[in-house]
Subunit: 282 residues, 2 copies
Amino acid sequence: METTLRAADDADRCRGATSGLGISGRTRLFAVLGAPVAQVMAPAMMNRLFAEHGVDAVLVPVEVSPGDLDAAVDGMKRIGNLDGFLVTVPHKLALCRHADHLGDAARLIGSVNAMRREADGSWSGDNFDGEGFVRGLLGADRPVAGKRFSLIGAGGAGVSIAAAVLQAGAAGLAIVDIDPSRAEALAARLDTRWPGLARAAAGPDPASDMVVNATPLGLRDGDPLPFALDGLRPGATIADIIMKPAETRLLREAAARGFGTHPGLPMLSEQIPLYREFFRIP
Amino acid sequence: METTLRAADDADRCRGATSGLGISGRTRLFAVLGAPVAQVMAPAMMNRLFAEHGVDAVLVPVEVSPGDLDAAVDGMKRIGNLDGFLVTVPHKLALCRHADHLGDAARLIGSVNAMRREADGSWSGDNFDGEGFVRGLLGADRPVAGKRFSLIGAGGAGVSIAAAVLQAGAAGLAIVDIDPSRAEALAARLDTRWPGLARAAAGPDPASDMVVNATPLGLRDGDPLPFALDGLRPGATIADIIMKPAETRLLREAAARGFGTHPGLPMLSEQIPLYREFFRIP
């Protein structure tokens, strides 16, 4: 049995050397779904969380194009040791139809960024982007209550941010999308819960205290700015939800012109405790 | 931008601390498919290989029941950053139909234990169990050429071992399976390449130099022995391909009765360089 024992020792050393990320046959799986995925920060953050709490689980990036999403998710749900998904651009709206139960925020806005398998095999989805975004603002001493917002991009993350800033007491919200009907639909849905505060608009409200980029523009080198900075009032803050690059062209140009800036990473880092609760990580 | 920079530093520290297993959005994926998967040793071995060669990739265990296999594999093939599969019990035969091209061994025996995505998007499968098993024997100074073998279990790994021991010059092979027609079908297939050497049998040949357990019996506590040790000739060697537990009840009882024993792990560890070549790991 000498060969066996020697090889087992090697395997143990390998596990030890990877401090908590020693993947074995008993490791539970989580996936972050997106296209592209090269920019996602969730693996580093969630795998550190697992390691810190002694949880034998790993989050891996999973790149799936929109046309393959339904078959890929249907297939991955059949993986017995897969316990949950995080969801990023462009799949947050489409993933809704794969959840059997939706949390409050997800139901209102029709977008999920997290799904977990329940004990009975069904799947629950919710969206923590908005709450993470608001927590990130408050943590940076940027109040939300009583402030006027403009939101650029009514996609999967934008809809969640829209609901969360209104929930946190924003005084008004102008919603801009390249597809005006999408901005109008979101404003109408928000109006059912927070009457008179949200409206669709062709561009950022010049009176905004904060203008938020929730489009993917800025993920790639050479992307155009998601909106023009001209005409915004001095003292306004420009927020971006893009995490990589950490300083987008939008934030760089905003800072150069004297606007306040707020980067993308806090929206994710503030969600980590929310994910921990949602995924029931002890 | 202070928040961003601080969080990025944390992420870098986390990556550093996991010595090669720091999973990011750019990490490539490999999966080992099985049911159960708790016992698989491939993640520790392959992830060490990736780390040693500076390859940003990770192998994770994927548990899929036979009824879910086709949909799960169809779905997982749509994951853009998934480059390959390893395959373990009970999926080695069924996975064949998901390969567009089969290597020599896989085509003869109708079983794959590894699949890779080609540049054109097609999938190639091959089976290295048999070659790994034979290399393991030779590495333990147990010759194969001229020896008489009995193989218990003509499933996904067994068929590969059968072909490999004949290829390496075995003098005869008795094939035993709980389903006699499966043993007969394998003997007939082997006969086309190595005439007159393989035959189906009801139990191990008492004249065997080596009797190999290639059934899953022994994976679980309380499993019965895969075959009776009574009547085997003194000096015979009993081999098991089960890796966990390292010492199965079969090997323990064989050793107690004075037979030579050969454990399961070398079959896998000897395949690591073969996987490296197959998956084109630089």
